[in-house]
């Protein structure tokens, strides 16, 4: 039996989602998408630069590679902007999947729970599959699941901060209680962070800055792929219990006695 990730009936072999923000070049992006083996790639939606005549078209590139594209609502300041952005992205990308980001806080980019709930409810009513980016709040995660969200995406630490995992216990509770996939998003800095999240039972992770801004993004994409795989296999294998005292690994019988 395979161990594919399933979100709303759609199967993914990879449990690593990749962001395209801050990529150094399209060639670099292509390299790290391939090395990461990710099948789900996020993009942002922005006004087209009407004065830019270059054909540097990220979307055509992703479509050509036959990747699943997950548009986000980053930068939207209110519910109306979120809804319009999602409707435009549905027309542009031909997908009803959206990563909902409802953020008012410019310093820590922490998502606003009220705005997230209101937007999620409206989007679900309008036929969208909503993957909300949230603070690692188990009650909020449960509410969003009950509203009909397809996943929950708790943050490990603020976006792009490279701060690693600052919310492990609350993420653990979200995982324990969730009936929808939990995708840990934001702040993961190194593959061991991703591995740790997968080891405690996260269904997937989303990584952007840690790969896009690494000195060697291609190698870092591969390293995250391996970290996610190792963590997932470890989770499925069942870790040993934690004990307060040592337990020898070598036999205690037939010891020398001089």
């Amino acid at each position: 039996m395979n161990d594919n990730l399933i979100i709303d009936g759609k199967e993914f072999r990879s449990r690593l989602f990749i962001g395209t923000g801050k990529h150094k070049s399209l060639k670099d992006l292509e390299n790290y998408i391939i090395s990461s083996e990710s099948e789900m790639i996020t993009v942002a939606i922005r006004r087209l630069d009407l004065d830019d005549n270059q054909s540097n078209d990220l979307l055509s590139f992703l479509i050509e590679k036959k990747l699943n594209i997950l548009p986000n609502t980053a930068g939207c300041k209110n519910i109306d902007e979120i809804i319009l952005t999602c409707e435009l992205s549905r027309e542009l990308i031909n997908t009803n999947w959206v990563k909902l980001e409802a953020i008012k806080d410019p310093k820590y980019l922490l998502p606003d729970p009220m705005m997230t709930i209101i937007a999620a409810e409206k989007l679900i009513k309008n036929g969208f599959k909503v993957l909300p980016y949230i603070n690692s709040d188990p009650a909020l995660a449960k509410n969003l699941e009950e509203l009909g969200c397809s996943t929950v995406m708790p943050l490990a630490s603020p976006i792009g901060s490279g701060n690693g995992i600052k919310n492990e216990e609350s993420i653990r509770i979200i995982i324990e209680q969730s009936n929808v996939p939990v995708i840990v998003d934001a702040g993961l800095a190194v593959p061991s962070d991703a591995s740790k999240m997968m080891e405690i039972g996260a269904d997937a992770v989303l990584v952007n800055t840690a790969i896009a801004q690494a000195k060697d993004s291609k190698k870092m994409g591969e390293a995250f792929k391996l970290g996610v795989k190792a963590g997932r296999i470890s989770f499925k294998s069942g870790r040993i219990p934690i004990k307060g005292i040592a337990s020898p690994s070598s036999p205690e019988k037939n010891l020398l006695d001089v």
Partner: protein
């Protein structure tokens, strides 16, 4: 008979167009034919198949968007 001109706003910038200008004409005038984009006029999405018959009215606020790198 002369056509009247009026202002519209595309991605926040003012443009002057003739009356009865369609979205497809605007797209051609802006050299966007080869680009990937979606359009909303006054906060309503216009589907691609309707660009050739959608006539832009005075003071319309048009948003033309595309995908960029994001996380």
């Amino acid at each position: 008979m002369n056509k009247a001109n009026f202002s519209i706003y595309v991605n926040g910038k003012e443009f002057i167009v003739e009356e009865n200008t369609t979205l497809i004409k605007l797209i051609k005038d802006l050299n966007l034919e080869k680009k990937s984009f979606a359009i909303a006029v006054n906060s309503e999405v216009v589907k691609k198949e309707n660009y050739n018959r959608f006539i832009i009215l005075p003071d319309s606020k048009i948003e033309i968007i595309s995908a960029v790198g994001g996380g």
